[in-house]
Amino acid sequence: MISKKIVITGHFGVGKTSLFNRFLTNTFNEKYLTTIGVRVDKKSLVIDGQEISLVIWDLAGEVSQEKVPRSYFLGASAIVYVFDLSRPATYSRLEDDLVYIDSVLPNVLIRKVGNKKDLVSDQTLKEIHAQTKPFIFTSARTGENIEDLFEGIARTLISPFSNKK
């Protein structure tokens, strides 16, 4: 079985841990508990008959990615950069953050994820899509697109000729 490290990162309060919990245990908690440091857990998936173990690091939120210990990113096969669709401040620095992550881990698979889809209107989604070009919009509360996000990442990781960008 292949093991791959995936890092979930982003501004604080964007729903990284909720995304993590929804994917791992299919649960959602309305209460906001800030993550201290990092939480590590794993989930195994079978993609086209091949088993892959995703070891997921849920990092504590930071206003800027430069504040995250560099070593947390090292060895990651994919980065899930989460932002909150209802708080523009969480994606205002998105491009700077991605440039920084790319400097730490050149050519790593990065997925920009707009979370809390359930809190914004379709019109707002369109506007944010034009502005941020995300990979996917998710809702940890409803579970929408969470499985698709991680399955998509797993599929890309086991396929050696996949397009990472």
Binding site: M1, G37, V38, V40, W57, L74, G75
Partner: protein, 271 residues
Amino acid sequence: MGTAGSTSDTVLLDRLRDALLRKDRESVAEVKHIVESKEELSKRINPIIAAHMKELEENFPDAYVNVVQKIVDQRMRQKQDELINILYPRLGLLIRKYINNEFRLIRERIDQVRRNSFSFLRFWKRKTADEIIIDLRPSIVEEVYIISHESGLLLGSASSTETADKDMIAGMLTAIKSFVEDAFRRTDEELRGIQYGGYEIMIHNFFNYYIALAIAGTISEQERDELAEKILAFAARELNHDLQQPEPAFYARMQKELDAYFIKPYKALPQ
């Protein structure tokens, strides 16, 4: 006529007033002098204050002990955590000092007995006090992990006990290690161990991976050195190739090798 009469009345009245109030006026003047003179006032008030102070000093415990006790109790309840935080490290240090001292005394006594004994066995097999103590409570390697430095992904593991998910342990251990190394900005140094209670995680760092041993029990310096040598020997024999993309068979082989090398020898020991 009327005016002359009234003048003489006023004079008479003044004389009468002087005669009647003379003593009172003298007393008022004396009191005024005392009140206005600090020295005179102190002379009179100080003995009274001293007497009250003495009385308070003598009777305070009886009169106020309950009130004070109540206030102290209330404050202590309110500041319980603060008190514990203050006392805990000091108690810990005292206990540690006491235990270390007791161990030193035991070692000295054992060494003394050993020196004084005339048994022929002492010439046959000499054991130091340290070895005897370690014999009484042997350390046991319960788990061993080979973990990638950067990713924290598990490259191999073996265990004599049922623990939490090993991939998760490897990840969290790496996160803790990264945090410590990053937080103190000592890029040229690495975390070599974690201790909690009677348990120790011994970490041996290599270039792109590290080996972590979870050890239960007391470990002596000599034992630590022996384990370090064992880890080096194992790494030289089994991990002398690129570990970035190990073959699937590698994980199964590592588990077998780690178990045989680190775990099984301890299973044979009396528990």
